[in-house]
């Protein structure tokens, strides 16, 4: 796992230390460590000379900047209307069974977190899920399970 200072140095060398570099910094940490720990938020606040509350307040505004521990692979199933009509409930059910967790939870081995999210812009090819940044459209329960299995072997 990359050290927090290393991540922050990389971001600040590219974006500087102004407040406008805060989002790239938080995003880079989440990409590496899957979530923002309290220690990481304190480190970010120090780097940007902001109060910890400011940084925490910004992070918690955004659903993709998690402040609770998440698995290595964060699965987000779209729950908005088109995907709903296309059968997102069956997908979620299949994923819950395969991973043996409920929506909002993380597997014991810390490999997967299962979440739902609002419209992801694949309404013509629903149901759809994201695993980290990867998109998987036109899902069936079977397809979803196979995708998870391929990640389990990673």
């Amino acid at each position: 796992m990359t050290d927090i200072q290393e991540i922050l140095e990389k971001v600040t060398s590219k974006y500087g230390k102004q407040r406008s570099a805060l989002m790239p910094a938080l995003q880079a940490i989440v990409k590496e460590k899957n979530y923002l720990s309290d220690e990481d938020i304190v480190a970010v606040a120090k780097t940007f000379d902001l109060s910890t509350a400011e940084v925490y307040g910004t992070a918690t505004f955004y659903t993709f900047l998690d402040t609770v521990p998440r698995g290595k692979y964060v699965i987000r199933v779209c729950k908005t209307i088109s995907c709903h009509m296309a059968g997102k409930d069956e997908i979620i059910e299949a994923l819950q069974k395969t991973l043996k967790i409920k929506v909002g939870e993380t597997t014991v081995d810390k490999k997967f977190s299962l979440l739902t999210a609002n419209c992801m812009g694949w309404c013509h090819k629903g149901p759809v899920m994201l695993i980290n940044d990867e998109v998987y459209p036109e899902l069936t329960p079977q397809k979803a399970i196979e995708i998870i299995q391929s990640y389990q072997q990673k």
Partner: protein, 387 residues
Amino acid sequence: MENKLKKVDLIFCKTCQDDIEVVKKALKRNPDDIINEIIDSGLKGRGGAGFPTGLKWKFAKAQPSDIKYVVCNADEGEPGTFKDREILDQVPTKVLAGMAICAYCIGAKEGFIYLRAEYNFMLNKLNQIVEEFNSKMKEVGLNFEIQIRSGAGAYVCGEESALFESIEGKRGEPRNKPPFPTVVGLFGKPTVINNVETFVYTAMINHLGAQRFKELGTQDSRGSKVFSVSGDTPKAGIYELELGMTVEDFVKEFGDGDTKAVQVGGASGHCVPRKKFENTIIGFEGIPTGGSMMLFNSSRSMYNVLKDYLEFFTEESCGQCTPCRVGCQQLLKGIEAVKRGERPASYLEELKKLAQTMRIAAKCGLGQSVANPFISIVDNFKEEIIY
């Protein structure tokens, strides 16, 4: 039966223009001429709000400031909309060309693309394209550089001032307006912010001339528009269509034969029931749309549709202003209570009043537009909400 829908192939045509040449050509023209041509074309913003693009550029140009910005709004989050993703995927340099022309016109040196986090899968490819484009701009002598910034899963950041806040590293809470972005925008500087599709049309108008654009559409809705079609349709996907068609024309082409309602403009848009298909025009004289078209057939419960929308807004409200934060929750609780029989049917009238209050009192477009789906669905499908 004759089909009145006219499909157009301007946006996705890959051989129609060399984007660097388009910028070069623009650089030889007077910025005022370019802006006047865009005003003359009648182009209105393609993100949904429909502000005249040329005027926006004109206002930003008129501001005396050494620093100005061009921002491309690629935070496409409206449920049912996915055309900007396709545009950025298929013809990204057309968008960049539009941004460059805008920068030249208003005198901006920096540009930002705010890409929603859900589209991060194309970030690497886009970054490469942007880098190449930036160096090409240096070659042609335009001092303008574009950067991409990622969103982080907040629908409200599609609202222009919330988007600025987010790029600035803050919570994506909309600002009070006025001042408008053309006066006080990103980092407090005059800014033009346009939708992805809008930038493509500006480049195209510069290339083909306003006349070609004006030939399409109607008096109030010039040109063509990219539509995202989803829901109960055998032809879900992305289509560029001439503006000014009726919902009836649209349903004939895209319906499954059993269409009972079309939601025009996404969750924040209006629901059009079958009896109004014939007389409802899709465009600024009827129902404007950012391109989201969702079809529902008679197997769908409009209660579930409305409930889904309200859950969406309840989650995505930034919580900053009370009318929106509390209003969304109460509308949702309200229809649930009516459904369970805990409230009389007449309670829906009270809820409509609340929605109307939100339209006036909410700070930004999110809260103001919740009344659109709420009132149009409750009025047209009252039985489905109650029973």
